[in-house]
Amino acid sequence: MSEQTTETRYSVVHNDEEQYSLWAEGRPLPAGWHRTDFSGGREECLAHIDAVWTDMRPKSLRLAMGEN
């Protein structure tokens, strides 16, 4: 335990609706959620999400609107 920081590490995760969130590393991920390959501290993960989550509509809504 020589590390200075004990900050929890998180994974950036998303569900099938492509809604993003954070999940602490090491905890079993709930069904229906998928880890991306990005992990890091809380703020890093949130910054990453800000960059990648560009269309915030749930996927089902995007698809439904695309059909119109």
Binding site: V12, L22, W23, L29, P30, A31, T54
Partner: protein, 1116 residues
Amino acid sequence: MSERPAPEGERSAAELREAVAAIWRDALGLDDIRDGCNFFDEGGDSVLSVEVAISLRELTGQDLELDILYDYPEFGALAAALGAGPEEEKPETRELTAAEERLWTVEQLHPGSAVYHLAVRYRFPGGLDVTRLRAALDTLAARHEALRRGFVKPALALTARKVSVACRWVDARGVSETSVRELVDTEVRTPFDLGRPPLLRALVVDRGDAGSELVLTVHHLVCDGVSLDLLETQLQELYEDTSGSGGTGWEREPVGRQAVSVRPRDAEAALDHWRTMLADCPGALSLPHDLPRPARLGVDGAAHHVVLTDEQVSALVSAAEEERLSPFMMWVAAYVTALVAVTGDRDLVLAVPASSRGPAQAGEVGMFVDTLPLRFVVRPGATARDVLRLVRRVVTGALAHQQVSFQTLVEEVGSGTDRSRAPLAQTALTYMDTTGCGLRWDGHRAEREQIGTGTAKYEALWLVTRTSGGTVCELEYSTDLFTDEAAAALHRRMLAAVDAAFAQPDAPLPSECGTDAPGVFVPIHERVHRQAVEQPGAVAVRHGRTTLTYGELDRRASVLAAGLRAAGIGRGATVAVPMERGIASVTTCLGILYAGAAYLPVDIAQPAERTRHIVRTAATAAVVTDDATADLLAEVVPTHLLEKLLVTDEAPMVPAAVTDADVAYVICTSGSTGRPKAVVVPHRAVVRLVPDADFVTFGPADRVAHVSNPAFDAATLEIWGALAGGGTLVVADRDVLLSPRRMRSFLTDEGISVMFLTVTLLNQMVDFAPDAFRELRVLLFGGEKHDARRLAKLFAAGPPATVVNGYGPTENTTFSTTHEVTAEDLAEGVVPLGRPLPRSTAYVLDASGQRVGTGGTGELYVGGEGLAHGYLDAPAQTAAAFVPDPFAGRPGQRLYRTGDQVRVLPGERYEYVGRLDDQVKVRGHRVELAEIEAAVRRRNGVADAVVHARPTDDGIEILAFVAPETAGDAAPRAVLDVTVLGEELRGELPQYMLPTVIVVDHIPVTANGKADREALLSMSPAANTGDVDGGCAPPQDGDPVDATVAALWQEVLDTGSARPEDNFLNVGGHSIKAMRLLALIGEELDVTIDLVDFFEDPTLHGLTALVRRELTGDEL
């Protein structure tokens, strides 16, 4: 004692009876007259009735009324009235058994109903021998004491020595099916006179070549399922036995044997079992009914039938066999999974019948059934197999302790005082196997068919019957709660849920979020449109003397939608509605939804810059009612004038079809980053609140007050609750909200039945008009933590029928949990947040994400269909607040972190403890102190600022401690002008966010470098408020009016200072405090001052002048 005139000659009762019978025989042309014969059913008419009455006068020598046959149409009753009653012997009486007492109680509550009639039908290809049938029925009655039993007040069972069973024969040859159905319905629904046994009757419908039907109707007080089997078997023997010997090998049972329940020695232990099982059990079941719940449920009902083939139930059967469950237990498990799916409840109680028949009663007809409440707590993630095992455990436990009667349980563990719900269990299940049942007569076997009696014993009762033709599932439902369509849809959803659950018995139950339920999603605007189709002339919105019918609302919204579409606004767009609440704003919101777009309500009372900011970030267009607002938004988004849209040439459009994930509205709330954040709410979240939730239901008779700011999400409940339910939305003007007196008149004059108030407004009302809510059906309050003292005062003054505490953040659509407040809550000192809405969840988690047990404290996480999509254009904020749900039955669900700290109470209820951050609620509005702090710091001349919220009697008070910039060595105060600062903040922040500014030399800090709030507060009290020169005593001498007004001014502002030129709004006053001040002045000096007038010149001097003018009656 007066002597009755003796009839001519001395005649015994029996002779008189025979003489009366002779008159009937002659008049009606019948051979056989029995007690049950009804004069009019047997062909008597009005002319005959008079003739018979005259004959009876001659017979008795009494001056009988000529309409005596209308009073006593039955022979037995008539004979008794004439003193020739059936054998005069006194029947034996005894006390009721516990099971009888339960039914008897229901009969007293709903006299003359058929709710406990058992009615069965048998169809035969040929005719029936009615004489043989009558003889067989009479023999049965002679054999079984229960068939000679009646019941009289107060609560006694009596047994007659001899009775004859009424058996009507009706010639229905060539009569239509409908008429036969009506005849049978009347037969089975006509109430028994419980005091006159037998409580059994028969009807034979002779349909000629179409065969005949036998209908038996018997009261549950003397019969149960096993008894029905016995009756069938013996009736078959007696009817087939033509020897006239009255059956073979039948030992007449000993007279006087009684079915009295015995309380075994271990009754106390059994009671303990139930006390544990039922501790804190829920008092309600969240059935998705579509009619408003009446104050008290009646017993009118109907049933929906579905027949399942063996193949359709094979998955259920094999899973049940694997777990070694009896068919009864299997159907209990099926019902539990169905209820979890359709209600979202995971803690439920259902009643089942349990036989109390001992070996000695094996061959006895009678009522040997009691009711057992079964409580099931289905944990999140449970599978269908888990439910099977749970049912096995609960049912065996219940049967082992069944010696305690249901009635005793109600008394011992009864749940609450909610008179609109049955105690302990609001639903029940029965299971019967009738594959071997029926009547075999003349070589034909007639199956037993149950006949509905148009009643409902529970809110919903599931009757499952295994027959040779498959499994018949009947959902008997209260027609007070369900329309036929809603009940049918519910039943189909239940069956689909059972199907889904047992198809994969080892997968978690399909989530309580009923999106996998079949059926097309009906968005809220479509529901309003349907109301317009059904009742175009009904008033949809009312504002003062202006009303708008549903037809006109629908027409305007359609035209508006067409206009928006023509402007390129449709699905995916967000349209700002910067309007005060009123007919225009409601019409506009509906029109925007009709166009398929989302609306963004904007509070026009807030500063222009904030409005522009919100509209710029969240909307693509705006609909406005005036040029001033159009100018305000001119550079921001394209604006459309409402009146121009309403006269568009476009053809009106039908409401747009949207999915449940389309956005319905966007609402802005205070944001901790210093800017408001926009919450994006989908359509499914709206219908999950109204009309689907059951904490309040809205019907056409309702008048729903529209008092909430449209930009506050309680307006969602008011507007769409009223309009989707077909009721009237009644708009309250701002001045109504500002005066308890006017509010009281508004409630009375408008006949308001449902309303929502923020806790602050409720408190104000309770202080000055605690009895104003008496006539309401439902009063909902929320937005802040309740004040127990005010609630107690409300209850003492006469509360409305139902008071509901509604809790929830905007991110989970108005309410997350609701609780019906009871007097018991107040006595116990805890008003819980309540339980989640249907299709919603709530969990209390600790810092590591683990669930907190009963008694523990943690953060409340909420989920389900009420969840918003997130914050507009704020992915990081959304991801931080909406997190994966590890408990959901369905994969990929999210939970919203409320930031509210709550304590877990027994029964999955929660008590609010506090915030985990700096968010506060001010008059129902959510306020991030950081946003105010950021605004204060942006002002010129401010070096530093700390914003603090402190609770007061009138709600939260916001204090801003401001350290001015120092210009070199100059006195700092020269740089900062408090009045200017106040004006500037008023230009940026909405009124409810305005702080009371307190200037300090510097912000003191604690040892670890944070602002020392305690030190700041010690500098605060009102002496420093807004005035750097310190306080100034009001004129104590001189005019008493001046002195009174000044004293009250100081009291309300909690200040020692009161100078005539002080501006109320600059010294910590706001509208709520102003209402309080004016109400106090009204009490003290007996004058009524309007808030509007006061706000024209909100200085102490101005107020005193107003009061004086009122007192002297000087209009100038």
